[in-house]
């Protein structure tokens, strides 16, 4: 178990290092001058040069890379060029929207999809199964930005129950904050739930076909008991994998939904920072997301180990 852990941590650092190098090089190669973007087309040469010096952009690339890495290690993420505030503060603000949004979508998705998938598996090739499969097919086919607009039209424009977007901040009260995250999380959850329901159904059907289930039946166990003791535990490995991937996706990939609901989330920050060549923000967020995916995968592996002792031997 210890080597398993140590290897994972080493892999984490190596991956992060690789990610940091890739991000740095790509941003160096990408055309675009942050000083020109900030000062526009009316700026004079000397002003541009003054700003570049102020931002430290006149230093050689290798030096800037090393400085950035050294900063990361010591916990200093640098300062955003465009906002002129510490990147750490910026990211923390954005995460206070993105993490609750992802969690809410994750919970909604799991609450709907897991029971739906189980239900479908138990009613295999019957009306209930077809119903769940058809619904999830439809949910998969609907682009989430379109569903988001539909939700806004119904709940904000027609009914006027919820705001059409924006995020007032947690200081305005938890109620207000949750209200503004409700529609976006529903929009995000739709596609995720559809995938999860299908995976759950498939995993349970596979397990139900196993010999040990027949044995359990022969032993005289009831359906509920078989489900609880034999099927779920075994079916949960593929489900946990998907859940892990989905959570990472929800944090990093919510940018379209964030745009429709104009939520100040991490995804939007990243896109905006790329457009404005806000180099520190792009690099830090990219490395942070890479780290997040690795950590989530790590946790998923941990969950495997809890559910099923076998992977430990392979590692």
């Amino acid at each position: 178990m210890l080597t398993f852990f140590a290897r994972r941590v080493a892999a984490l650092f190596l991956t992060l290092l690789a990610a940091s190098a890739v991000v740095f090089v790509v941003l160096e190669v990408l055309p675009g001058d942050v000083a020109q973007i900030m000062l526009g087309t009316g700026a004079q040469e000397d002003t541009l040069a003054a700003l570049r010096t102020q931002l430290g952009l006149d230093r050689p690339a290798a030096e800037r890379y090393i400085r950035w890495l050294a900063g990361l290690v010591s916990g200093d993420l640098g300062t955003s060029y465009t906002y002129d505030v510490p990147v750490a503060e910026l990211v923390r603000d954005r995460l206070s929207v993105t993490i609750p949004l992802a969690l809410l979508a994750f919970i909604i998705s799991a609450l709907v999809a897991l029971p739906a998938g189980m239900f479908a598996a138990q009613h295999h090739n019957r009306l209930g199964d077809w119903g769940v499969m058809a619904t999830s097919q439809l949910a998969l086919a609907i682009p989430n930005f379109w569903f988001a607009i539909l939700l806004i039209l119904v709940f904000s424009v027609a009914l006027g129950w919820l705001p059409a977007g924006g995020f007032p901040g947690w200081s305005e009260g938890i109620g207000q904050a949750i209200r503004s995250l409700l529609l976006p999380s529903l929009a995000l959850a739709l596609g995720e739930a559809a995938i999860l329901a299908r995976v759950t159904r498939g995993a349970i059907l596979d397990t139900l076909g196993e010999d040990f289930i027949r044995t359990a039946r022969a032993k005289g166990l009831g359906t509920t008991e078989i489900m609880r003791r034999h099927v779920l535990r075994n079916a949960f490995i593929p489900i946990a994998t998907i859940l892990g991937l989905q959570f990472a996706f929800l944090v990093a990939g919510a940018v379209i939904v964030e745009n429709v609901f104009h939520l100040p989330g991490l995804g939007r920050l990243l896109v905006q920072a790329v457009h404005q060549r806000d180099l520190f923000v792009v690099r830090d967020v990219a490395v942070l997301l890479a780290g997040l995916v690795i950590v989530v995968n790590f946790m998923v592996d941990g969950v495997y180990a809890l559910i099923d002792p076998r992977p430990r031997i392979e590692l």
């Binding site: 990408l30 001058d33 904000s156 457009h275």
Partner: protein, 500 residues
């Protein structure tokens, strides 16, 4: 079945969550004295003296910061922190008499030393002022007493008072200037309250203001980049006014709705098709004229801008007094375009690259223009680029483009045709002399005549193909009065906004 129970609990939870939202209709939350203004872009920071982003001025200009002079809704120069001024005979010395009893939002008084500080900061060697050229004419600033500022210019400049009205020339205090990006301290009728990054900037009425008290006591600028989200937010009642709605196609819908008023005004945005005259091809005026004849401006306005926009024939705003209508100079005429190309030796057709920045006027307009060019035998390959790339490849460095479409939104910017090394690659000696004469002209009639001559020179030369003036199209909740209809500068002045 245990699972269906879980499902039931989950479903019930979901419904409960939804019901929690039932409390109030959002649109009824509006109170007197509150205003929510929708803006497309988030300001990178809130210091108008340290960045070019129009989004900064759209929040702070006239509301939070003030300069010696200010520019009003009609583009005229008005007194602001300077109550009045005297100009010496030779036009070199400006004596500004400051308003007394003006306080910054932190309570300190605004005096001549603050003005001197602001101007020196903007023109210093390490200045990061995006419009440093505005301060270039200043030779020295003297402060004989706390209420008087004496500015001496290197040479007469007819635009000096106008220039001091820009957002880049607002007056800041030495104690707070460095923190203005995040904690702006100005002298305007509104003070900074808070900024929820990515969501909104909130201003509160400043009780120590020297002038007329604004009717609103809280103004929130809400940032909504996506055009369809802007429409939804407006319809849902989250926003009171969107001064420049990104979705002109939906204006009709608001016009038909009795809850809203639609207003269409003008901006300083001359939208042009730039021809890279560093390319040998475009040094031949016949080719430039052929392209001008090939383009049907009205089709571009209708197709790309849903009919909003005024055709222009030179680089000047039609609402300006000095405007000369030159739209008839090169009328849409495909036959003429073809014969000019033939004459120039390009009868077999031309292949060009048309680089398009992100705004819809460029992307949609570019499609239409490419189709129009195709009809006269010019094959324009469309290359969409993002702004950073446009600035790097087209505007600077190697000027890697043949054609591009862009809107030049700075006011009175016809002087860009005489800037050294500008990306057009255009040069005209007659234009240079007109622009020099303009600097010395202080009389409005003389200036207008000179501007007219400048417009004619670049139109005759087809320095670029002049397409249309960008329109400002906004939506507001009925009952709101006092917002600017036009945008002579990029600002959302809310100081006179009121509910009726």
């Amino acid at each position: 079945m245990g699972f269906s129970k879980t499902a039931r609990v989950g479903l019930a939870g979901l419904v409960l969550c939804l019901l929690a939202g039932l409390g109030l209709r959002v649109s009824e939350l509006r109170a007197e004295g509150r205003l929510v203004v929708g803006v497309t872009l988030e300001p990178p920071h809130l210091d108008p003296t340290a960045g070019a982003a129009a989004a900064i001025d759209e929040v702070v200009y006239a509301n939070l910061f003030e300069g010696l002079t200010r520019i009003d809704e009609n583009g005229a120069v008005q007194p602001a922190l300077a109550m009045r001024w005297d100009i010496s005979e030779d036009g070199l010395t400006y004596t500004f008499h400051l308003r007394e009893g003006v306080r910054f939002h932190d309570g300190s008084t605004m005096e001549s030393s603050d003005v001197a500080f602001s101007l020196q900061r903007a023109s210093a060697t390490d200045s990061t002022n995006a419009q440093k050229r505005l301060f270039e004419p200043i030779a020295s600033v003297a402060t004989p007493d706390p209420a008087t500022v004496l500015i001496t210019l290197k040479r007469a400049n007819g635009l000096f008072l106008w220039n001091m009205g820009w957002g880049d020339a607002v007056i800041v205090a030495p104690e707070s200037a460095d923190a203005n990006k995040t904690q702006p301290v100005g002298t305007g009728p509104f003070r900074f309250e808070r900024w929820v990054k990515g969501d909104s900037v909130q201003l509160e009425r400043f009780d120590g203001y020297w002038g007329a008290k604004p009717s609103m006591d809280r103004v929130t600028f809400k940032i909504i980049p996506d055009p369809s989200a802007q429409v939804a937010a407006m319809l849902a009642g989250d926003i009171d006014v969107f001064p420049n709605l990104g979705a002109p196609e939906s204006l009709k819908r608001f016009e038909d709705d009795s809850r809203f008023d639609v207003f269409v005004g003008t901006t300083e945005g001359e939208t042009i098709l730039v021809m890279n005259q560093r390319r040998a091809l475009f040094q031949d005026i016949r080719v430039r004229r052929a392209i001008a004849h090939a383009i049907d401006r009205n089709a571009v306005i209708d197709g790309a801008m849903f009919g909003y926009g005024t055709p222009i024939g030179s680089h000047f705003a039609p609402h300006s007094e000095a405007y000369v209508d030159l739209t008839g100079l090169y009328p849409h005429d495909q036959g003429k375009a073809r014969s000019l190309l033939e004459e120039a030796g390009h009868g077999g057709g031309i292949d060009l690259v048309l680089k398009l920045p992100p705004p819809s006027y460029a992307r949609r307009g570019g499609e239409i223009i490419a189709a129009q060019l195709a009809k006269v035998g010019i094959k324009a390959e469309i290359v969409p680029v993002e702004w950073a790339q446009w600035l790097a490849d087209v505007f600077r460095n190697d000027h890697l483009f043949d054609l591009t479409i862009v809107s030049h939104t700075e006011p009175l910017d016809i002087d860009i045709y005489t800037r050294d090394e500008y990306y057009f690659g255009y040069f005209s000696a007659p234009l240079e002399s007109v622009m020099t004469a303009l600097l010395d002209a202080t009389d409005d009639a003389d200036r207008n005549k000179l501007y007219g001559r400048a417009q004619r020179i670049i139109a005759d030369d087809v320095a670029n193909v002049f397409l249309f003036q960008l329109a400002k199209h906004g939506v507001q909740r009925r009952g709101l009065k006092g917002m600017w209809r036009n945008s002579p500068i990029q600002a959302n002045d809310v100081t006179r906004a009121r509910w009726e």
